[in-house]
Symmetry: C2
Subunit: 210 residues, 2 copies
């Protein structure tokens, strides 16, 4: 049985998540504050964690930080649930290595996709030892191999994961306009046209083929 821990204080969202996830056969655990979330994660060892950014006690970033420090629980796939307006301040989310960001409002399909893909990825990591997909854990390879700036590399990393400009702005804590500016510079530097070509290039790098 696959167990998912939901760390979220808004009852509306908790109910919605519970409904969707249980219908898919997942076992749903709930914690309604940061401290409770950390405790539950350590105690229950869920297969995946969905965590809101804004919460009482301490926020989602702090939850992630503590879990990553924990070692064992630090390997659990971790997905942030965030509104577009809520900027990931100080960009701590990214730097701490959240596996994905789910932007509110999200559809049933978006939620299930994010959950499934992260579970599959974790599974592949355990089994194959190398991974079933690409390594999105760090923008560093993109920066060094493509000769771009750190910020550009971060933007590209999320573009290559299929995020929209608006989402990326939310995740990295910058305006959508700024995302566009970085992308424009990126296109020029890399001599390509369009985010799609950028995605292909990035994935070539991230798959270790360049």
């Amino acid at each position: 049985m696959t167990r998912i821990l939901v760390v979220e204080d808004n009852p509306q969202i908790v109910r919605s998540l519970e409904t969707i996830l249980s219908l898919e056969g997942y076992d749903v655990l709930v914690a309604t504050s940061g401290p409770d979330g950390v405790a539950a994660a350590v105690r229950e060892r869920p297969d995946l964690i969905l965590c809101d950014v804004m919460m009482p006690g301490f926020d989602g970033h702090e939850v992630l930080r503590r879990l990553r420090a924990d070692g064992d629980a630090g390997l659990t796939p971790f997905i942030f649930v965030t509104a577009r307006a809520e900027r990931a301040d100080q960009r701590t989310g990214m730097e701490l290595g959240a596996d994905d960001y789910l932007t509110k409002p999200f559809s049933r399909e978006e939620l299930l996709n994010a959950v499934r893909s992260r579970l599959e990825r974790a599974e592949a990591l355990r089994a194959g030892g190398g991974g079933g997909a690409f390594d999105f854990s760090s923008p560093e390879p993109l920066q060094t191999r493509l000769g771009i700036t750190p910020r550009e590399a971060e933007v590209l990393l999320w573009v290559a994961q299929g995020k929209s400009n608006a989402d990326i702005g939310g995740i990295l804590g910058m305006a959508e306009k700024t995302v566009k500016t970085h992308l424009g510079n990126l296109f020029t530097k890399l001599g390509i046209e369009g985010r799609n070509a950028a995605t292909v290039l990035a994935l070539e790098v991230l798959s270790g083929r360049r």
Copy 2:
């Protein structure tokens, strides 16, 4: 010295291609008809062939067909030069495995990008034996592994290579509207949003990791 064979009857375009390519240090050979093109390709063994679709003698498709049958010359990177309006009738271009399509009018950058990327790819094939990028040679893996229709797989294959809807319509011989319809169906079937996410999925499959 890298040698490029241009098979094109329109003097305007020949001049333009020659100017751009020689400036980049490529050695440019020219043939102005299908038969001449085949003869030149077999005799000169260029490193890459740029070939117009519409031509006297026989057309670009026929040139490609004969070269592919030839064996040795069949391995040379082959890029079709085509106008958006000229549809790849009977979709023979795709089925015969042209490496890329360059849509008129094209910019200097587009031309050089296509040429460079195909040369690099051929180089990687000779050296590494496996390839430096992804295997775009057939839509079949996409079809079977993702459970989509043949036509949808063809569309996806070109989306994953960064082509626009209009270009894909030209390449596959269908209206842009139809490309959009297929893509819409694809998004629903795969449970994703946007061509970028589709690209990531497709590349995972084409990299042999799924």
